[in-house]
Amino acid sequence: MTSPMTDVALVAAARSGSNAAFARLVDRHQQAVRSFLRRVCGHEADADDLAQETFFSAWKSLGALKDSAQLKSWLFGIAWRKAKGLGRSASRARQRDTAWSDMQDDHDDPKTEMNIAMKQAMSQLSADQRAAIALCLAGGWSHGDAAQILDMPLGSVKSHVSRGRAKLVEILGVDDEPS
């Protein structure tokens, strides 16, 4: 059995022109990047468009990546900058569509209900809070890594996570007491 290629090996192959290697990198990281952007943007179609742009930008500037082992955090950094650049106007235009499409979803499915509830709760947080929550609580990144990805001081990330989490717990009405 062959061991899976590391990101470093795939980046090296992609740099020398291998499409297959870059496609494997996309496969490997698409779920994490798309999930992050969905939580930050709140609109799945916008988020997936941004994720596509993120990977495309990454391919174009692959030569600028200094440490290939840090590929994942580098991708998240690109994704975050793209999400910040997404205009408010586009988001507003999408809000009506989102509300409408949410009404069309199958509300009997508990997972769908939880997804919608989470989207609505996240939309009440600031963009920085959403990003910090998406990385540290949902994505499992450390506060230090998140600070590097979001280009924020460590203290700000910790504060965004703590306040954002408290607000989510309050909005979603979940029991946060240890049993």
């Binding site: 596509q52 989490r165 979603l172």
Partner: protein, 107 residues
């Protein structure tokens, strides 16, 4: 023992699909389009340079053309014969015939 985060189930519900071939195809299509555009730009640039060179060196090329026309037909015949012998020799040694044409490596 730490209790599970009550928000975890909500985060899992908002997770993107683990595998999405359509997404990969969209990204790779963007890359293929970009590669094509870059290739077209390079080839266009080479065409412009070659055209400019031909126009610039036209007087020299006219002289060369006249010189080639002065060469007797037998010389061309001899060159063709040498080429056939060379290809036959290549086939005799390698059992294949491969003619390598000059190629412009642009990337």
């Amino acid at each position: 023992m730490s209790h599970p985060d009550p928000l975890q189930a909500y985060f899992e519900a908002s997770e993107a699909p683990a595998s999405d071939p359509a997404f990969r195809v969209s990204v790779m299509a963007d890359i293929a389009r970009e590669r094509l555009m870059r290739e077209l730009v390079k080839r266009f640039a080479v065409t412009v340079v070659l055209t400019a060179a031909i126009v610039l060196f036209k007087p020299v090329l006219v002289i060369l053309q006249a010189a080639f026309l002065d060469i007797p037909v037998e010389v061309y015949g001899a060159l063709a014969l040498v080429a056939v012998v060379a290809l036959a020799g290549q086939y005799f040694i390698t059992h294949t015939v491969r003619v390598r044409m000059p190629r412009l490596w642009l990337s």
